[in-house]
Subunit: 381 residues, 2 copies
């Protein structure tokens, strides 16, 4: 795995401080990866992301495969060059999107056949093909093709997903190693643990996937509709089976309180569309809780979105102005709200890392949540 | 007119270099004012506008009157504070929008009655009311309520518009002076010359409006569909009747070649939605002519939008990436394209000012147009 390494720089309870080194640079963990579905974090520029302190962004294999196509991205130098981010990137396996599609035509042990949401054309993903697509896109970290069981899932369906995920992980890793031997890219392939909320399936999947010695492991299949209690219980149980020397990635999470919870169990990496998607529908995250700035109570407010935030949006703009722009469907409203929430999540991660370093993560978490859940904005949830 | 003044700093032929001083700061002329219809230049932030070098932006009285309402803007400190631009602003009279409305209910010598495009509510604009709305919005430069005749217009209709524009200018100025005597704001009220493409009406309107001794004069009713030859002929004729000691504003113009033409006759101020509106539909302005970056010939191009541009978009992003984002309806595509074209227009104005200062405006214009009209992008018009 040329170019990829993970170093632990300290712990505080089960929470860990670390450094991931990739061909495109260093990522400090715990880290939150803004989601750049089609190659851009919606409404933001790469300059914005740098200002916010993001160190790694995610691209969606399903979307990039369809448009502009993995071949074009490869020809133009890979994702980080194509989108001019020039820093570490990660691609998901595409499985989550494909299995969520209304036009999923067939899924069996070999893979999935689906129709493009753009033009209805037929496509097929399997363990080997996904690896080839992801290598073309050229992220620093790529994910094994997995089957994410929906929530709730019957035990048998969840067990089938675990079996396929293991089979596809083996096939994908073997194909990856063959290809890397011929054309090394420095990309790191991560394995994904499934198992829904069934402890024995989580244990089985974790033991199977970690037996393959990937350079990093993801916990998939959470934040798909289960309660916060089920998420924590399942995560806590699963963590015991993940090696401490490899980065651990909780996919699709999440809310600030979920991130703090997961960090306390030793998760190093997160991604979620919440900060960006919600910003585009009129809700931002603040130190005093979620704020629905499109609401009428912001109409005459000259407060910034978050009075405790030092981002360039909060230093300059009022809630009244942002509400007005939002109601006029102005693109600028989406840009400013997305910027703030992206900054807020990066700032949260900076706070988490500093707290772990200082050995006061539990206090930091309690203090954050006290302000976050008691603030004036909580009624706006 | 506390706080407002115009200083001529040099000439080159009929082209002029000047400085407009306003309560919110200084504007170097010739200047191009990006249009912030509802209080934001679409897709841009105030930081973006500053980076591009904009010194004054325009707000639309019609839009701001309806949403968020002039009273709210007044309460929150006026337009420049409300939108956190904090620099000079100008509002149009709202007439152009009202007279273009499908739901224009009535227009007579007193004013216009119309339905809101938001909710169908009835509203009335007249010379006095528009002044009151504009004073509430609080721009540094406000415009008299005028009637802009469409193109083509029969002579009688154009003559009626000239008569009403004069009548409303007198009424508006008298009302403005009464209000300013009680509550001085430092706002400068400009007069507008109409007359369509009829020389005698232009002469009549210019003589009428300039007899009122406004601190600045606008040429309205051009760039509404007439040919470039008619625009130039009408503008050239009208300019002879505008005092050289006052700023001259050509409303709604325009293309780079039109700006260069008008500067050569002594116009000092411009505004237009072209750079921003076209950017949102996949076309940007470049030194080599308009570029339709959504076109297929950009699909694999790693060239920047404008190879001769040093804006932050051209320094970082390829045409291939911007085309991809545009085709995926990504907000980021609109942000980046709008930024470039806004920068391009501000850079054009910087070039014009430097050329006038150096006494080489004619050469600058010829050189710009040679590259602009001969470039590889000209086929994309």
């Amino acid at each position: 795995m040329t170019g990829f390494s993970f170093t632990r720089n300290g712990t505080d309870g089960s929470a860990r401080l670390g450094t991931i080194t990739t061909p495109h640079g260093i990522v400090h963990t715990p880290t939150f990866m803004p989601v750049g579905t089609s190659g851009a974090v919606k409404a933001l520029t790469s300059d914005d992301l740098e200002e916010c302190g993001a160190e790694i962004i995610l691209g969606n294999t399903y979307h990039l495969y369809l448009r502009p196509g993995n071949a074009l991205i490869r020809e133009l130098g890979g994702l980080a060059k194509f989108n001019s981010w020039n820093k570490p990137t990660l691609t998901d396996s595409g499985g989550f999107q494909v299995f969520s599609l209304q036009d999923l035509l067939k899924i069996d042990d070999d893979g999935a056949t689906f129709k493009s949401h753009h033009d209805g054309s037929r496509h097929q993903f399997d363990a080997e093909k996904v690896i080839e697509i992801e290598r073309d896109i050229g992220a620093d970290i790529i994910m094994s093709f997995d089957q994410c069981a929906p929530y709730p899932s019957a035990y048998d369906l969840a067990a089938t997903a675990v079996r396929r995920t293991y089979d596809w992980a083996q096939r994908g890793l073997a194909h990856f190693n063959r290809l890397e031997n011929v054309h090394p890219t420095g990309t790191a392939l991560f394995g994904i643990v499934q198992g829904s909320v069934y402890p024995d399936l989580r244990k089985l999947s974790a033991e199977q996937i970690t037996s393959l010695d990937f350079p990093g492991y993801a916990v998939g299949g959470l934040a798909v509709g289960e309660s916060k209690e089920e998420m924590e219980k399942t995560l806590a149980y699963t963590m015991d089976f993940l090696p401490s020397g490899k980065p651990r990635y909780l996919m699709g999470v999440g809310y600030p309180e979920d991130i703090l919870m997961a960090v306390s169990y030793g998760i190093d990496m997160f991604d979620c569309v919440l900060p960006t998607r919600n910003a585009r529908t009129g809700m931002v995250f603040t130190s005093e809780g979620p704020l629905v700035f499109r609401n009428a109570d912001c109409a005459q407010s000259d407060l910034p979105l978050d009075p405790n935030c030092d981002c360039k949006v909060c230093r300059r703009y009022s809630r009244a102005y942002l509400r007005h722009l939002y109601n006029q469907h102005e693109i600028t409203a989406m840009v400013l709200a997305t910027y703030h929430s992206t900054y807020f999540f990066q700032n949260l991660m900076r706070g988490i890392r500093a707290a772990i370093k200082a050995g006061r993560f539990a206090d930091f978490r309690a203090g954050f949540l006290a302000r976050y859940s008691q603030g004036e904005n909580v009624a706006d949830r």
